[in-house]
């Protein structure tokens, strides 16, 4: 039995909070942009292939244009040469957007503690979820997706995300 406003409007109308309904929509229709540079991209291919099937989380519409994506999956090592491109792609994505650093290299530089490798992409762009592993198993990608979904649930359409972020390229 409906209560409050819903009771007087009959059973054709539902009321909810704006945040709840928008977040519900965002949660199950993430459009990933795969910034695949190295080995981790192969494991992302496995996560997308039929055995694990990323579409069960509503995130199978992989877009290769940042303008059409809201989830940036950074799969692989980011070198200093690549860094300005990653930053530009991130900036081209419309708000709201989430970032997953997949694997040791994207999270921290991994085994490549040297002159050409960025020591974690969070020095360039803000990151929401990190996945460990070199490379991570595809199940870990799905786990990260669920973590992103959990984060989305708790957000508000009124607040900007990461507006104070400053990286080495800013």
């Amino acid at each position: 039995m409906a209560l409050g406003l819903e009771a007087s409007l009959g059973d054709t109308v539902l009321t909810t909070k704006l945040d709840a309904v928008i977040n519900w929509g965002r949660e199950y229709s993430l459009w990933p942009f795969v910034f695949g540079t190295a080995c981790c991209a192969i494991e992302f291919m496995s996560a997308a292939a039929s055995q694990l099937d990323i579409s069960r989380w509503g995130a199978e519409v992989v877009r290769f244009s940042p303008r059409q994506a809201d989830l940036l999956l950074v799969c692989g090592t980011i070198s200093y040469k690549q860094a300005p491109i990653l930053k530009r792609i991130y900036e081209q994505m419309p708000e709201p957007k989430w970032v997953v650093a997949m694997g040791a290299c994207a999270s921290s530089g991994g085994v490549y503690d040297n002159y050409c490798t960025v020591q974690g992409i969070d020095t360039i762009i803000p990151v929401d979820v990190y996945i460990s592993g070199c490379p991570p198993r595809p199940e870990a990608v799905l786990d990260a997706l669920m973590k992103i979904q959990d984060q989305i649930k708790g957000e508000s359409v009124l607040n900007d995300r990461h507006k104070d972020f400053k990286g080495i390229l800013d």
């Binding site: 540079t37 190295a38 192969i42 290769f64 040469k81 690549q82 491109i85 002159y115």
Partner: protein, 571 residues
């Protein structure tokens, strides 16, 4: 050692000191003799060294025994018909003055010398396009010099425009403003990558288009340069193995094997028979994996998504065996210097047979979609042709060279691990077009499966590791109970397997072509220098020759057909 090659070359160059190192004849020539030596090696019909495999430098600044000059440039050149390998060493007195270029003899010298310039700062006089290739254009200094600190990273704020390069390339093709005005059109510059689905990784392809036809093309690589060589210099020989996984990550175990083989051949370690057969089985299994991914991705580029499921699902299924055996799906790190990490698990034969059967089915299903498919034929036949002479000049090896009709395969021409005893054929293309490159990979899958089945029947029982305690870790019982075992364990872990001082090159037929390793050892447990000869680096260097004059959409599928793997390309 190849004594006939040594005698032949010594006779051809009587006043040049010739030595030998594993399979290679080593010539040390002064810069002023370099051009005549290289020209003779290439053009003399008795020598006929037509395939320049690699160019690299060495910095002897911290080398324990004094050398004549600080820098050295090494050209590794092969006569593929007679299985002769020569290394031409050139001492460089002043890197800023440098040495004459070899680009007039081999096209592969272009990128090889650019890399040497980028990493060591050695100038090549007369080089047409001497600029950085792996490091970004704002980079200062030369990272593989011994006085460059490994942690000294440099931020790149902006990508290179490549405007000058593409305009130069257009001019060299005879296209200028007036030609465009005559046909009443304008050139459109189109940039693909480095983040683009068609680039299969991080490569930048800049094209100048007339309509959809590519007039000129310039490529930029180095976006996945991860400092493999500098990192390897700071690790023991066994610690480098995990780094080799990440070269060609579609066939990681093959890189492990190629690397271990290269070190063992210098140490003179003869691995056990069972280990040899294990390596054959696993490297052929990974060759199949690599080809599956390559063909699957290539056909997706063409719009054949169904093939992706047929082929990739079999690869995905194979991870069951791989992860059960090695503990990892992609990055196996399964070899050690002196053998394999461990033997096959019990019951692996049945698993292997299941996977081979599955792969045969998947590949056959995919072939049914491709073989008589008019669209595939029209898009691939006579498209992006690489003639044999050009392929050799650009240093092509592996399936791409064989697609151009050159029957060079190290498994036949310089066999190792009993490859001469297996019954298999080398598929050859006739044209060197995209169709040949795809079909050769299909056929190689069947050949590799046949080799695996033969090797499984022939494989003897026995240990998979040598018993030599300079190389092999002692059994745990000895480490815990006696002091010699403990000391030997510590020394091998901390100091590494000690390689005698010297320089050597050894190579392996990997899925993409000749994967070579060039080492310089100072006698310690860490390589003084470790250079990879990556097959796809040289394939990419000839990419513009294939695509100029073709349509932009063909360039995309051509990139898939030469199987560029970023980890190996940029190291």
């Amino acid at each position: 050692m190849n004594t006939t090659a040594l005698e032949l070359i010594q006779a051809a160059f009587p006043d040049v000191p010739c030595t030998s190192s594993i399979d290679a004849v080593v010539l040390t020539v002064q810069p002023e003799q370099l051009e005549t030596t290289l020209s003779r090696l290439k053009n003399d019909p008795t020598l006929n060294f037509g395939l320049l495999l690699d160019v690299t430098g060495v910095d002897f600044l911290e080398y324990p025994t004094p050398q004549a000059t600080r820098f050295l440039v090494v050209y590794t050149i092969r006569n593929w018909e007679k299985n002769m390998l020569v290394e031409v060493r050139v001492p460089v007195a002043d890197p800023a003055v440098g040495i004459p270029t070899a680009t007039k003899f081999w096209d592969s010298a272009n990128w090889g010398e650019r890399e040497t310039y980028d990493q060591y700062g050695i100038v090549f006089q007369g080089h047409p396009d001497l600029r950085r290739i792996l490091n970004h254009w704002q980079f200062q200094g030369h990272p593989l010099r011994k006085d460059y600190a490994i942690e000294n990273g440099q931020i790149c704020y902006e990508s290179d425009s490549l405007e000058k390069e593409i305009k130069d390339r257009l001019a060299s093709k005879g296209v200028n403003k007036t030609t465009m005005e005559e046909i009443n059109t304008e050139i459109m510059y189109l940039n693909l990558g480095p983040s683009h689905p068609a680039t299969h990784g991080a490569i930048r392809i800049l094209t100048a288009l007339d309509g959809e036809t590519i007039l000129a093309n310039v490529n930029e690589i180095g976006y996945l340069h991860r400092g493999f060589e500098k990192t390897a210099e700071n690790r023991t020989y066994n610690q480098v193995i995990p780094l080799t996984d990440r070269l060609n990550y579609c066939s990681a175990l093959m890189n492990n094997i190629a690397y271990a083989k290269a070190v063992e051949s210098w140490l003179g370690v003869e691995i056990t028979e069972r280990a040899k057969f294990m390596r054959v089985i696993l490297s052929e299994f990974f060759r199949v994996q690599d080809h599956l991914v390559c063909i699957a991705a290539n056909l997706v580029d063409m719009g054949g998504l169904t093939n992706y499921w047929y082929l990739y699902n079999e690869k995905e299924a194979s991870y069951d065996l791989i992860s059960r055996l090695t503990g990892a799906r992609l990055t196996s790190s399964f070899t050690r210097i002196g053998g394999m990490y461990r033997d096959f698990y019990e019951g692996w034969e049945a698993d292997m047979e299941t996977h081979l059967h599955g792969i045969e089915k998947g590949v056959s299903d995919s072939l049914k979609l491709v073989l008589k498919n008019r669209i595939v034929h029209d898009r691939t036949q006579n498209v992006c042709v690489m003639p044999a002479d050009k392929a050799l000049s650009y240093g092509y090896t592996g399936p791409c060279l064989r697609a151009s009709g050159v029957p060079f395969d190290l498994r036949k021409d310089n066999p190792y691990y009993h490859y001469e005893t297996f019954d298999f054929t080398i598929p050859l293309g006739s044209k060197g077009d995209i169709y040949d490159r795809i079909m050769i990979r299909y056929e190689e899958i069947f050949q590799s499966i046949s080799i695996i089945r033969q090797a499984m029947k022939m494989m003897p029982a026995g240990p998979v590791f040598v018993s030599d305690n300079h190389v092999a870790l002692p059994p745990k019982a000895e480490v815990y109970k006696n002091i010699e075992g403990l000391a030997s364990h510590f020394k091998l872990i901390f100091e590494g397997v000690k390689a005698p001082a010297g320089e050597w090159y050894d190579s392996f037929e990997a899925a993409n072509g000749e994967l070579g390793f060039y080492f310089v050892s100072d006698g310690s447990g860490r390589p003084y220098k470790c250079k990879v000869r990556p097959p796809c680096f040289y394939m990419m260097s000839g990419f513009h020759e294939m695509v100029e004059g073709e349509m932009i959409a063909d360039a995309v599928i051509n990139l898939g057909s030469i199987n560029i793997i970023g980890g190996e390309l940029d190291r």
